[in-house]
Amino acid sequence: MTSLDISKIVDGILKGDTVSISRAISIVENDLYSDRALEILQKIHPHTGRAHIVGITGPPGVGKSSIIGSLVPILSRKGRRAAIVAIDASSPFTRGSIMGNRIRMQENLTRYGTYMRSLSTRGLSGGLSFSALGTAKILDAAGFDTVILETVGAGQSDLDIMRLAATVVVVLAPGLGDEIQAIKAGLMEIAHLFVINKSDREGSFQSIKDIQDILLTAPQGEWKIPVIGTSTITGDGLEELIQKMDDHSMVNRSGKDRNRLARNELNLIVESELMKLASREMEENDGISEIISQVADGSKDPFSGSRSIIFRITRDIHEEP
Protein backbone atom coordinates (compact mmCIF):
# COMPACT_ATOMS: atom_id res chain seq x y z
CA MET A 1 0.00 0.00 0.00
CA THR A 2 1.19 3.49 -0.75
CA SER A 3 1.36 6.44 1.55
CA LEU A 4 -2.10 7.59 0.47
CA ASP A 5 -4.21 6.84 3.52
CA ILE A 6 -7.75 5.96 2.46
CA SER A 7 -9.23 5.83 5.96
CA LYS A 8 -7.81 9.28 6.68
CA ILE A 9 -9.48 10.60 3.53
CA VAL A 10 -12.77 8.94 4.50
CA ASP A 11 -12.58 10.49 8.00
CA GLY A 12 -11.88 13.85 6.37
CA ILE A 13 -14.91 13.53 4.08
CA LEU A 14 -17.20 12.74 7.01
CA LYS A 15 -15.87 15.80 8.84
CA GLY A 16 -16.49 17.94 5.77
CA ASP A 17 -12.81 18.72 5.23
CA THR A 18 -12.39 20.38 1.81
CA VAL A 19 -8.96 18.96 1.02
CA SER A 20 -10.12 15.38 1.72
CA ILE A 21 -13.29 15.87 -0.33
CA SER A 22 -11.27 17.25 -3.25
CA ARG A 23 -8.75 14.46 -3.13
CA ALA A 24 -11.44 11.76 -2.91
CA ILE A 25 -13.15 13.16 -6.00
CA SER A 26 -9.82 13.10 -7.87
CA ILE A 27 -9.43 9.44 -7.01
CA VAL A 28 -12.96 8.61 -8.18
CA GLU A 29 -12.29 10.54 -11.41
CA ASN A 30 -9.14 8.58 -12.14
CA ASP A 31 -9.57 5.03 -13.37
CA LEU A 32 -5.95 4.29 -12.67
CA TYR A 33 -7.01 4.07 -9.04
CA SER A 34 -10.36 2.29 -9.37
CA ASP A 35 -9.65 0.01 -6.40
CA ARG A 36 -9.07 2.97 -4.10
CA ALA A 37 -12.16 4.66 -5.48
CA LEU A 38 -14.28 1.62 -4.73
CA GLU A 39 -12.87 1.44 -1.21
CA ILE A 40 -13.79 5.07 -0.54
CA LEU A 41 -17.28 4.72 -2.01
CA GLN A 42 -17.92 1.56 0.03
CA LYS A 43 -16.76 3.18 3.26
CA ILE A 44 -18.84 6.33 2.89
CA HIS A 45 -21.96 4.49 1.77
CA PRO A 46 -23.58 4.26 5.25
CA HIS A 47 -23.35 8.07 5.45
CA THR A 48 -25.07 8.79 2.15
CA GLY A 49 -28.71 9.13 1.18
CA ARG A 50 -29.50 12.39 2.95
CA ALA A 51 -28.60 14.97 0.32
CA HIS A 52 -31.11 16.17 -2.23
CA ILE A 53 -29.49 15.80 -5.65
CA VAL A 54 -30.77 18.38 -8.11
CA GLY A 55 -29.82 18.23 -11.78
CA ILE A 56 -29.76 21.45 -13.79
CA THR A 57 -29.81 20.93 -17.54
CA GLY A 58 -30.75 22.75 -20.72
CA PRO A 59 -29.29 24.08 -23.97
CA PRO A 60 -25.97 25.99 -23.98
CA GLY A 61 -26.14 29.65 -23.05
CA VAL A 62 -29.52 29.73 -21.30
CA GLY A 63 -27.86 30.67 -18.02
CA LYS A 64 -27.52 27.45 -16.03
CA SER A 65 -24.25 28.47 -14.36
CA SER A 66 -25.52 31.99 -13.70
CA ILE A 67 -28.67 30.65 -12.02
CA ILE A 68 -26.62 28.35 -9.81
CA GLY A 69 -24.30 31.23 -8.92
CA SER A 70 -27.34 33.30 -7.93
CA LEU A 71 -28.83 30.48 -5.84
CA VAL A 72 -25.65 30.27 -3.72
CA PRO A 73 -26.29 33.38 -1.56
CA ILE A 74 -30.00 32.56 -1.13
CA LEU A 75 -29.33 28.98 -0.03
CA SER A 76 -26.60 30.20 2.27
CA ARG A 77 -28.93 32.78 3.85
CA LYS A 78 -31.42 29.99 4.53
CA GLY A 79 -28.67 28.15 6.44
CA ARG A 80 -28.41 25.43 3.84
CA ARG A 81 -25.15 23.69 2.88
CA ALA A 82 -25.06 23.38 -0.87
CA ALA A 83 -22.34 21.96 -3.08
CA ILE A 84 -22.06 22.25 -6.84
CA VAL A 85 -20.76 19.85 -9.45
CA ALA A 86 -20.44 21.20 -13.00
CA ILE A 87 -19.73 19.10 -16.03
CA ASP A 88 -17.81 20.48 -19.01
CA ALA A 89 -17.42 19.03 -22.48
CA SER A 90 -14.03 17.68 -23.51
CA SER A 91 -12.57 17.78 -26.95
CA PRO A 92 -13.36 14.55 -28.80
CA PHE A 93 -9.92 14.86 -30.43
CA THR A 94 -7.47 15.75 -27.66
CA ARG A 95 -9.71 15.09 -24.63
CA GLY A 96 -8.70 18.49 -23.31
CA SER A 97 -11.36 20.83 -21.94
CA ILE A 98 -12.00 24.40 -20.90
CA MET A 99 -13.89 24.35 -17.62
CA GLY A 100 -15.77 27.60 -17.84
CA ASN A 101 -18.73 27.21 -15.50
CA ARG A 102 -16.90 28.31 -12.43
CA ILE A 103 -16.16 31.75 -13.80
CA ARG A 104 -19.87 32.68 -13.56
CA MET A 105 -20.02 31.99 -9.86
CA GLN A 106 -16.54 32.28 -8.36
CA GLU A 107 -17.20 35.46 -6.42
CA ASN A 108 -20.21 33.99 -4.61
CA LEU A 109 -18.44 30.67 -4.05
CA THR A 110 -15.59 32.24 -2.10
CA ARG A 111 -17.81 34.71 -0.29
CA TYR A 112 -20.22 32.04 0.95
CA GLY A 113 -17.69 29.20 1.28
CA THR A 114 -19.61 26.99 -1.13
CA TYR A 115 -17.85 23.90 -2.47
CA MET A 116 -17.76 23.55 -6.23
CA ARG A 117 -16.07 21.03 -8.49
CA SER A 118 -15.77 20.81 -12.29
CA LEU A 119 -15.66 17.47 -14.09
CA SER A 120 -14.88 16.91 -17.75
CA THR A 121 -16.53 14.37 -20.01
CA ARG A 122 -13.15 13.20 -21.34
CA GLY A 123 -14.64 12.01 -24.59
CA LEU A 124 -15.84 8.91 -22.79
CA SER A 125 -19.59 8.61 -22.80
CA GLY A 126 -19.63 6.38 -19.75
CA GLY A 127 -16.79 7.74 -17.67
CA LEU A 128 -18.49 10.92 -16.77
CA SER A 129 -21.65 9.47 -15.28
CA PHE A 130 -19.59 7.27 -13.01
CA SER A 131 -17.45 10.11 -11.69
CA ALA A 132 -20.44 12.45 -11.41
CA LEU A 133 -22.36 9.90 -9.35
CA GLY A 134 -19.28 9.12 -7.22
CA THR A 135 -18.73 12.85 -6.65
CA ALA A 136 -22.35 13.35 -5.63
CA LYS A 137 -22.04 10.49 -3.12
CA ILE A 138 -18.87 11.98 -1.60
CA LEU A 139 -20.56 15.37 -1.18
CA ASP A 140 -23.63 13.66 0.27
CA ALA A 141 -21.47 11.86 2.85
CA ALA A 142 -19.67 15.13 3.62
CA GLY A 143 -22.97 16.48 4.94
CA PHE A 144 -24.07 18.80 2.17
CA ASP A 145 -27.87 18.88 2.14
CA THR A 146 -28.23 19.95 -1.48
CA VAL A 147 -25.96 18.82 -4.30
CA ILE A 148 -26.51 20.70 -7.54
CA LEU A 149 -25.30 18.92 -10.69
CA GLU A 150 -24.95 21.08 -13.77
CA THR A 151 -24.75 19.26 -17.09
CA VAL A 152 -22.97 20.37 -20.24
CA GLY A 153 -25.29 22.38 -22.43
CA ALA A 154 -27.62 19.52 -23.23
CA GLY A 155 -29.05 18.72 -26.60
CA GLN A 156 -32.34 17.00 -27.07
CA SER A 157 -30.88 13.63 -26.23
CA ASP A 158 -28.43 13.95 -23.32
CA LEU A 159 -30.58 12.44 -20.68
CA ASP A 160 -28.21 10.77 -18.21
CA ILE A 161 -29.00 13.50 -15.72
CA MET A 162 -32.39 11.86 -15.24
CA ARG A 163 -30.62 8.92 -13.64
CA LEU A 164 -28.19 10.96 -11.56
CA ALA A 165 -30.56 13.44 -9.99
CA ALA A 166 -33.67 13.05 -7.84
CA THR A 167 -35.02 16.34 -9.16
CA VAL A 168 -34.37 17.50 -12.71
CA VAL A 169 -34.65 21.19 -13.56
CA VAL A 170 -34.75 21.99 -17.28
CA VAL A 171 -33.67 25.57 -17.99
CA LEU A 172 -34.76 27.33 -21.18
CA ALA A 173 -34.69 30.91 -22.36
CA PRO A 174 -37.13 33.04 -24.38
CA GLY A 175 -36.89 32.67 -28.12
CA LEU A 176 -35.66 29.10 -28.29
CA GLY A 177 -38.60 27.62 -30.12
CA ASP A 178 -42.33 27.28 -30.42
CA GLU A 179 -44.88 24.79 -29.10
CA ILE A 180 -43.64 22.08 -31.43
CA GLN A 181 -40.20 22.20 -29.79
CA ALA A 182 -41.95 21.94 -26.47
CA ILE A 183 -43.81 18.72 -27.28
CA LYS A 184 -40.74 16.98 -28.67
CA ALA A 185 -39.55 13.88 -26.90
CA GLY A 186 -36.32 13.82 -24.88
CA LEU A 187 -35.10 16.72 -22.79
CA MET A 188 -38.60 18.16 -22.49
CA GLU A 189 -39.94 14.95 -20.93
CA ILE A 190 -37.45 14.59 -18.09
CA ALA A 191 -38.19 17.86 -16.28
CA HIS A 192 -39.65 17.93 -12.80
CA LEU A 193 -39.41 21.70 -13.00
CA PHE A 194 -39.16 24.08 -15.92
CA VAL A 195 -37.29 27.36 -15.65
CA ILE A 196 -37.53 30.08 -18.25
CA ASN A 197 -34.44 32.16 -17.51
CA LYS A 198 -33.78 35.71 -18.72
CA SER A 199 -37.36 36.56 -17.80
CA ASP A 200 -36.39 40.23 -18.05
CA ARG A 201 -36.24 39.75 -21.82
CA GLU A 202 -38.95 40.24 -24.34
CA GLY A 203 -41.04 37.18 -25.11
CA SER A 204 -40.46 35.44 -21.79
CA PHE A 205 -44.13 35.54 -20.82
CA GLN A 206 -44.99 33.85 -24.10
CA SER A 207 -42.38 31.13 -23.52
CA ILE A 208 -43.68 30.42 -20.02
CA LYS A 209 -47.22 30.19 -21.39
CA ASP A 210 -46.13 27.88 -24.25
CA ILE A 211 -44.65 25.39 -21.81
CA GLN A 212 -47.63 25.66 -19.45
CA ASP A 213 -50.03 24.99 -22.31
CA ILE A 214 -48.13 21.91 -23.39
CA LEU A 215 -48.04 20.59 -19.83
CA LEU A 216 -51.83 20.90 -19.68
CA THR A 217 -52.18 18.51 -22.61
CA ALA A 218 -50.26 15.74 -20.81
CA PRO A 219 -51.72 13.68 -17.98
CA GLN A 220 -50.03 14.79 -14.76
CA GLY A 221 -49.55 12.67 -11.68
CA GLU A 222 -49.38 13.73 -8.07
CA TRP A 223 -46.57 16.20 -8.94
CA LYS A 224 -47.71 19.18 -11.00
CA ILE A 225 -44.71 20.37 -13.04
CA PRO A 226 -44.18 24.09 -12.34
CA VAL A 227 -42.92 26.59 -14.91
CA ILE A 228 -40.91 29.34 -13.25
CA GLY A 229 -39.63 32.55 -14.83
CA THR A 230 -36.26 33.60 -13.42
CA SER A 231 -33.81 36.42 -13.98
CA THR A 232 -30.32 36.46 -12.54
CA ILE A 233 -30.19 40.21 -13.20
CA THR A 234 -33.28 41.15 -11.18
CA GLY A 235 -33.26 38.05 -8.93
CA ASP A 236 -36.89 37.31 -9.86
CA GLY A 237 -38.13 33.76 -9.40
CA LEU A 238 -35.05 32.39 -7.62
CA GLU A 239 -36.77 32.03 -4.22
CA GLU A 240 -39.66 30.28 -5.94
CA LEU A 241 -37.23 27.92 -7.70
CA ILE A 242 -35.71 26.87 -4.37
CA GLN A 243 -39.19 26.42 -2.90
CA LYS A 244 -40.27 24.15 -5.76
CA MET A 245 -37.02 22.16 -5.59
CA ASP A 246 -37.76 21.53 -1.90
CA ASP A 247 -41.39 20.60 -2.63
CA HIS A 248 -40.22 18.05 -5.15
CA SER A 249 -37.70 16.56 -2.75
CA MET A 250 -40.65 15.72 -0.48
CA VAL A 251 -42.33 13.80 -3.29
CA ASN A 252 -39.03 11.95 -3.68
CA ARG A 253 -39.08 10.53 -0.20
CA SER A 254 -41.79 8.02 -1.04
CA GLY A 255 -40.72 4.36 -1.21
CA LYS A 256 -41.73 3.92 -4.81
CA ASP A 257 -39.44 6.71 -5.86
CA ARG A 258 -36.51 5.29 -3.90
CA ASN A 259 -36.84 2.11 -5.89
CA ARG A 260 -36.80 4.09 -9.12
CA LEU A 261 -33.64 5.94 -8.04
CA ALA A 262 -31.88 2.72 -7.02
CA ARG A 263 -32.65 1.13 -10.36
CA ASN A 264 -31.42 4.26 -12.18
CA GLU A 265 -28.16 4.29 -10.23
CA LEU A 266 -27.41 0.65 -10.89
CA ASN A 267 -28.29 1.05 -14.53
CA LEU A 268 -25.99 4.03 -14.83
CA ILE A 269 -23.00 2.42 -13.12
CA VAL A 270 -23.25 -0.81 -15.11
CA GLU A 271 -23.52 1.11 -18.38
CA SER A 272 -20.63 3.42 -17.43
CA GLU A 273 -18.33 0.59 -16.50
CA LEU A 274 -19.12 -1.36 -19.65
CA MET A 275 -18.60 1.72 -21.82
CA LYS A 276 -15.24 2.33 -20.21
CA LEU A 277 -14.18 -1.27 -20.81
CA ALA A 278 -15.32 -0.97 -24.40
CA SER A 279 -13.42 2.26 -25.10
CA ARG A 280 -10.32 0.84 -23.50
CA GLU A 281 -10.54 -2.32 -25.55
CA MET A 282 -10.99 -0.28 -28.71
CA GLU A 283 -7.98 1.90 -27.91
CA GLU A 284 -5.48 -0.54 -26.62
CA ASN A 285 -6.00 -4.09 -27.66
CA ASP A 286 -3.89 -5.36 -30.53
CA GLY A 287 -6.48 -7.93 -31.48
CA ILE A 288 -8.89 -5.16 -32.36
CA SER A 289 -6.70 -3.75 -35.12
CA GLU A 290 -7.10 -7.02 -36.98
CA ILE A 291 -10.89 -6.75 -36.77
CA ILE A 292 -10.70 -3.11 -37.84
CA SER A 293 -8.69 -3.95 -40.96
CA GLN A 294 -11.07 -6.79 -41.79
CA VAL A 295 -14.01 -4.39 -41.60
CA ALA A 296 -12.03 -1.77 -43.55
CA ASP A 297 -11.21 -4.11 -46.45
CA GLY A 298 -14.77 -5.41 -46.48
CA SER A 299 -13.97 -9.01 -45.56
CA LYS A 300 -16.01 -8.68 -42.37
CA ASP A 301 -19.20 -6.72 -41.68
CA PRO A 302 -19.12 -4.23 -38.76
CA PHE A 303 -21.94 -6.01 -36.93
CA SER A 304 -20.16 -9.33 -36.53
CA GLY A 305 -16.92 -7.39 -35.96
CA SER A 306 -18.41 -5.67 -32.92
CA ARG A 307 -19.74 -9.00 -31.64
CA SER A 308 -16.15 -10.27 -31.55
CA ILE A 309 -15.01 -7.17 -29.67
CA ILE A 310 -17.79 -7.54 -27.10
CA PHE A 311 -16.77 -11.17 -26.64
CA ARG A 312 -13.23 -10.06 -25.80
CA ILE A 313 -14.44 -7.52 -23.26
CA THR A 314 -16.60 -9.99 -21.36
CA ARG A 315 -13.78 -12.53 -21.44
CA ASP A 316 -11.49 -9.98 -19.77
CA ILE A 317 -14.01 -9.47 -16.98
CA HIS A 318 -14.09 -13.21 -16.29
CA GLU A 319 -10.33 -13.30 -16.15
CA GLU A 320 -10.04 -10.55 -13.56
CA PRO A 321 -13.14 -10.16 -11.43
Binding site: S22, L32, D88, S91, M99, Y115, R117, S120
Partner: protein, 149 residues
Protein backbone atom coordinates in the same frame (compact mmCIF):
# COMPACT_ATOMS: atom_id res chain seq x y z
CA UNK B 1 -9.86 -4.89 -14.90
CA UNK B 2 -7.28 -5.68 -17.56
CA UNK B 3 -4.40 -3.24 -17.52
CA UNK B 4 -3.56 -1.72 -20.90
CA UNK B 5 -0.03 -1.34 -22.14
CA UNK B 6 -0.07 2.41 -22.72
CA UNK B 7 -0.85 3.10 -19.10
CA UNK B 8 0.48 6.50 -18.16
CA UNK B 9 0.01 8.89 -15.31
CA UNK B 10 -2.45 11.07 -17.19
CA UNK B 11 -4.28 8.53 -19.33
CA UNK B 12 -7.44 8.40 -17.26
CA UNK B 13 -7.31 11.86 -15.83
CA UNK B 14 -5.55 14.57 -17.83
CA UNK B 15 -3.34 17.27 -16.36
CA UNK B 16 -5.62 19.77 -14.63
CA UNK B 17 -4.35 23.34 -14.68
CA UNK B 18 -5.72 26.59 -13.25
CA UNK B 19 -4.82 29.77 -15.12
CA UNK B 20 -5.01 32.90 -13.01
CA UNK B 21 -4.07 36.56 -13.00
CA UNK B 22 -4.49 37.56 -9.37
CA UNK B 23 -4.03 41.25 -8.72
CA UNK B 24 -4.97 44.28 -10.78
CA UNK B 25 -4.18 43.19 -14.31
CA UNK B 26 -6.74 42.90 -17.05
CA UNK B 27 -4.50 41.83 -19.93
CA UNK B 28 -6.07 38.45 -20.52
CA UNK B 29 -5.49 37.85 -24.22
CA UNK B 30 -2.38 35.80 -23.38
CA UNK B 31 -4.44 33.72 -20.96
CA UNK B 32 -6.84 32.79 -23.74
CA UNK B 33 -3.94 31.78 -25.97
CA UNK B 34 -2.54 29.61 -23.17
CA UNK B 35 -5.97 28.18 -22.29
CA UNK B 36 -6.47 27.12 -25.89
CA UNK B 37 -2.94 25.68 -26.14
CA UNK B 38 -3.31 23.70 -22.90
CA UNK B 39 -6.69 22.40 -24.03
CA UNK B 40 -5.23 21.29 -27.33
CA UNK B 41 -2.43 19.58 -25.42
CA UNK B 42 -5.17 17.48 -23.81
CA UNK B 43 -5.38 19.23 -20.44
CA UNK B 44 -8.40 20.17 -18.34
CA UNK B 45 -8.16 23.95 -18.15
CA UNK B 46 -9.72 26.29 -15.63
CA UNK B 47 -9.43 30.05 -15.94
CA UNK B 48 -10.06 32.09 -12.82
CA UNK B 49 -11.49 35.06 -14.71
CA UNK B 50 -10.51 38.70 -14.36
CA UNK B 51 -9.24 40.18 -11.11
CA UNK B 52 -9.51 37.23 -8.73
CA UNK B 53 -8.02 37.65 -5.27
CA UNK B 54 -5.18 35.30 -4.24
CA UNK B 55 -7.68 33.75 -1.80
CA UNK B 56 -10.08 32.97 -4.66
CA UNK B 57 -7.25 31.42 -6.66
CA UNK B 58 -6.25 29.16 -3.78
CA UNK B 59 -9.89 28.24 -3.02
CA UNK B 60 -10.39 27.24 -6.63
CA UNK B 61 -7.17 25.25 -6.76
CA UNK B 62 -8.10 23.31 -3.64
CA UNK B 63 -11.77 22.73 -4.56
CA UNK B 64 -10.82 21.57 -8.01
CA UNK B 65 -7.72 19.66 -6.85
CA UNK B 66 -5.71 20.93 -9.81
CA UNK B 67 -2.20 19.67 -10.51
CA UNK B 68 -0.77 23.07 -11.44
CA UNK B 69 -1.61 26.72 -10.78
CA UNK B 70 -0.29 28.84 -13.67
CA UNK B 71 0.00 32.48 -12.63
CA UNK B 72 0.59 35.37 -14.99
CA UNK B 73 1.07 39.06 -14.36
CA UNK B 74 2.15 41.86 -16.66
CA UNK B 75 1.89 44.60 -14.06
CA UNK B 76 5.11 44.06 -12.10
CA UNK B 77 3.41 42.85 -8.93
CA UNK B 78 4.59 39.25 -9.34
CA UNK B 79 6.98 39.23 -6.37
CA UNK B 80 4.18 40.27 -4.03
CA UNK B 81 1.20 38.45 -5.52
CA UNK B 82 2.81 35.15 -6.56
CA UNK B 83 4.32 34.99 -3.08
CA UNK B 84 0.92 35.62 -1.53
CA UNK B 85 -0.53 32.64 -3.43
CA UNK B 86 2.43 30.44 -2.47
CA UNK B 87 2.09 31.52 1.19
CA UNK B 88 -1.65 30.80 1.25
CA UNK B 89 -1.03 27.33 -0.14
CA UNK B 90 1.63 26.69 2.46
CA UNK B 91 -0.59 27.94 5.29
CA UNK B 92 -3.30 25.51 4.20
CA UNK B 93 -0.74 22.71 4.30
CA UNK B 94 -0.88 21.93 0.59
CA UNK B 95 2.39 20.86 -1.00
CA UNK B 96 1.15 18.71 -3.85
CA UNK B 97 -0.13 21.41 -6.20
CA UNK B 98 2.64 22.98 -8.29
CA UNK B 99 2.85 26.71 -8.99
CA UNK B 100 4.32 28.05 -12.23
CA UNK B 101 4.62 31.67 -13.33
CA UNK B 102 4.91 33.86 -16.36
CA UNK B 103 4.52 37.42 -17.63
CA UNK B 104 6.84 40.37 -17.79
CA UNK B 105 9.30 39.16 -15.21
CA UNK B 106 12.75 40.80 -15.10
CA UNK B 107 15.65 38.36 -15.11
CA UNK B 108 16.85 39.21 -11.54
CA UNK B 109 13.39 38.30 -10.17
CA UNK B 110 13.40 34.78 -11.57
CA UNK B 111 15.61 33.19 -8.88
CA UNK B 112 13.56 34.95 -6.19
CA UNK B 113 10.40 33.35 -7.56
CA UNK B 114 12.08 29.96 -7.90
CA UNK B 115 13.03 30.22 -4.24
CA UNK B 116 9.39 30.52 -3.13
CA UNK B 117 8.45 27.55 -5.32
CA UNK B 118 7.20 29.35 -8.42
CA UNK B 119 8.96 27.80 -11.42
CA UNK B 120 9.05 28.52 -15.14
CA UNK B 121 8.55 32.30 -15.04
CA UNK B 122 8.39 32.57 -18.78
CA UNK B 123 8.63 35.90 -20.50
CA UNK B 124 7.12 37.21 -23.73
CA UNK B 125 8.02 35.23 -26.82
CA UNK B 126 8.42 31.87 -25.10
CA UNK B 127 7.26 29.10 -27.46
CA UNK B 128 4.01 27.47 -26.28
CA UNK B 129 5.65 24.04 -26.50
CA UNK B 130 8.22 25.04 -23.88
CA UNK B 131 5.47 26.16 -21.50
CA UNK B 132 3.39 23.02 -22.10
CA UNK B 133 6.39 20.81 -21.47
CA UNK B 134 7.22 22.57 -18.21
CA UNK B 135 3.62 22.47 -16.97
CA UNK B 136 3.37 18.76 -17.80
CA UNK B 137 6.61 18.05 -15.94
CA UNK B 138 5.49 19.92 -12.82
CA UNK B 139 2.06 18.29 -13.06
CA UNK B 140 3.64 14.84 -13.10
CA UNK B 141 5.55 15.60 -9.89
CA UNK B 142 2.42 16.97 -8.24
CA UNK B 143 0.23 14.07 -9.35
CA UNK B 144 2.69 11.47 -8.05
CA UNK B 145 2.83 13.19 -4.70
CA UNK B 146 -0.97 13.48 -4.53
CA UNK B 147 -1.55 9.84 -5.26
CA UNK B 148 1.13 8.74 -2.82
CA UNK B 149 3.61 7.34 -5.29
Amino acid sequence: MAVGKSQSLFRDKPVKVLLAKPGIDGHDRGMFVLARAFRDAGMDVLYAGLLPTPEEVVDTAVNEDVDVIALSLLNGAHLVVFKKVADLMRSRGIDDIAIVGGGTIPEPDRPKLEKIGVSGNFGPGTPLSVIIEHVTERAAQARKKKMGE
